[in-house]
């Protein structure tokens, strides 16, 4: 029996959720220890006896037994889940309560509550992401550090502070809380950021598919809770599916970033495209139109096009017009200008780039000079293009971006 890749990591989040339900969030460290123990035992025993037929059940049984031991040994010394209180103190109800905590609906609910708790608005977004990745997704501090190009010690501190905040709240976020709608918006934003980081983050590998996968998975989990499956949540899910569909073509054989123009579209994931389009349909219910809706619509236009030339740029430009009105930002304006160049030619695109309000906010964003370079190259002004690509290269954040821009520069020499 072969384990699928990342099996332990996936199980980690689920088991920690179940144990947090029993131990209480103030004992999160205890929950983590029990899970760690279960993994260590699994590794030692499965190495010799092979992976069991139902590895999930094996791990759960091991974690349950340890939890029962801990509770029996420590129920006088510490307080556990405030909601369970007396039920844990007596053998009459101890085991049934634990069994219930490990049942799929309980695990799902507890993961959701954990996700909402991690997205506390008072925590910085980077702290929210680190907590989600560590607690819900089973990433170690070192793994998170390499994803975000930050030092491991800094991540460990960030996680420790975040967990302290969680423990301080005494219980996980209640999904019936009056604050649900606004917290849901924070959760969506965190998942969007997580996906973006995986799609084109600052890490050494420009694309971290695992982060995108986790964002997709958590968004799907979110949608399993009907009050959270609003049209806007569906729009976010659509957007993530449609972007994720392009991931297989985004990195070429040599590990370098492949621009949209060069991507082999036959490698786009047809099933994810179909899922994304279906979710976009669903998100059209009701009057809400969020930025996610518009971004998803733009991604849908790309997904339906056979090539860059055959793309409906007119629709894309008008969608960007709406997005700019709804959620103005220099990055949105930049993307709009690139779409205008596709629809109306390089000169129009350059004029649009020049007209971006708050252009100075793009000062450290390599895609701005890169876009200028691209359009100058198209117009035939190689000298100007070279200057822009050099400026972009100076701002490049990782090896893949650098190599991409260096290749562009080569094309300005001839």
């Amino acid at each position: 029996m072969e384990l699928h890749a990342h099996f332990f990591r996936r199980e980690s989040g689920r088991l920690i959720a179940a144990l947090t339900r029993i131990f209480g969030v103030q004992n999160l460290a205890l929950a983590e220890d029990v899970v760690q123990d279960a993994f260590c035992r699994a590794v030692e025993i499965w190495k010799i006896r092979g992976v069991p037929d139902n590895p999930t059940a094996w791990l759960m049984a091991t974690a349950k037994h340890r939890a029962i031991d801990v509770l029996r040994r420590e129920r006088r010394a510490r307080t556990f889940a405030p909601e369970l209180g007396r039920l844990l103190e007596t053998e009459w109800t101890l085991v049934p309560v634990i069994d219930e905590a490990f049942a799929p609906p309980a695990i799902r609910d507890e993961q959701l509550r954990m996700m909402f708790s991690c997205c506390h608005p008072r925590l910085a977004e980077e702290a929210q992401l680190a907590l989600i990745l560590n607690i819900l997704c089973g990433f170690g501090a070192g793994e998170i550090a390499s994803a975000f190009l930050t030092g491991r010690a800094a991540i460990e501190k960030r996680i420790a502070r975040g967990k302290k905040a969680l423990a301080g709240a005494a219980r996980l976020f209640d999904l019936d809380d009056a604050d649900f709608a606004s917290r849901l918006a924070t959760v969506r934003r965190a998942l969007y950021l997580l996906f973006s980081e995986g799609y084109h983050g600052a890490s050494a590998a420009a694309v971290r598919v695992e982060l995108c996968d986790e964002a997709l998975r958590l968004t799907a989990l979110l949608r399993e809770h009907p009050p959270a499956a609003t049209p806007t949540t569906n729009a976010l899910a659509a957007l993530l599916c449609l972007h994720a569909a392009r991931l297989p073509a985004r990195v070429d054989g040599g590990g370098d970033l492949s621009p949209l123009a060069d991507q082999d579209r036959s490698r786009w994931d047809a099933r994810l495209v179909a899922d994304g389009l279906a979710l976009l349909e669903q998100s059209a219910a009701g009057p809400e139109v969020s930025a996610y809706h518009i971004e998803a619509a733009i991604a849908a236009v790309h997904a339906g096009a056979r090539s860059l030339e055959e793309t409906d740029w007119a629709t894309i430009v008008s969608l960007y017009d709406r997005l700019l009105a709804l959620a103005p930002s220099p990055v949105v304006a930049l993307n709009r200008a690139v779409a205008i160049a596709q629809r109306d030619g390089a000169a129009a695109g350059l004029a649009a780039l020049d007209a971006i309000a708050d252009r100075d906010r793009l000062a450290h964003y390599p895609f701005y000079p890169a876009a200028l370079g691209e359009l100058e190259l198209r117009r035939g002004d190689r000298a100007a293009a070279r200057a822009h690509f050099q400026a972009a290269l100076a701002l490049a954040r990782n090896g893949a971006e650098r190599r991409f821009l260096e290749r562009r520069l080569e094309q300005c020499q001839a």
Binding site: Q36, A42, E44, K47, I48, F139
Partner: protein
């Protein structure tokens, strides 16, 4: 062919590193299983052995029983297995691919005593 026992040792720090995250734990398990399968496929695996708990006792003389092993200061014996190899040199070669040895721990290789011919 002779028989050799492999004794696997590691330090708590190395264990923490290998099991540091669920992903790391899974990778270390898969590396181990790949190595064992190689040994088995090449006909070297006499007995896959057993993993050992990290706690136990030490008996010395008639009276002295202490808690052991002492995890804080020494390498901990994690387990053992028994291989078949031509000679000690080959047993050493086979141990080079062991993930525990590669990951900061060690493999002690001891020939099993045989009756004199």
């Amino acid at each position: 062919m002779s028989e050799f026992v492999y004794l696997f040792r590691s330090t708590p720090a190395e264990q923490r590193e290998a099991m540091g995250s669920p992903e790391a734990a899974q990778r270390s398990m898969q590396a181990w299983m790949a190595w064992i399968r190689e040994l088995e496929a090449a006909g070297h695996l006499k007995d896959p052995g057993q993993p050992l708990e990290a706690t136990g006792k030490v008996v010395r003389g008639k009276e002295l029983v202490t808690d052991g092993p002492y995890v804080e200061t020494k390498d901990l014996v994690l387990g053992f297995l028994v291989v078949r190899a031509r000679d000690l040199a080959e047993a050493v070669e086979l141990a080079r691919g062991c993930p525990i040895a590669l990951g900061g721990g060690s493999v002690e290789i001891r020939p099993v005593m045989t009756a004199p011919m």
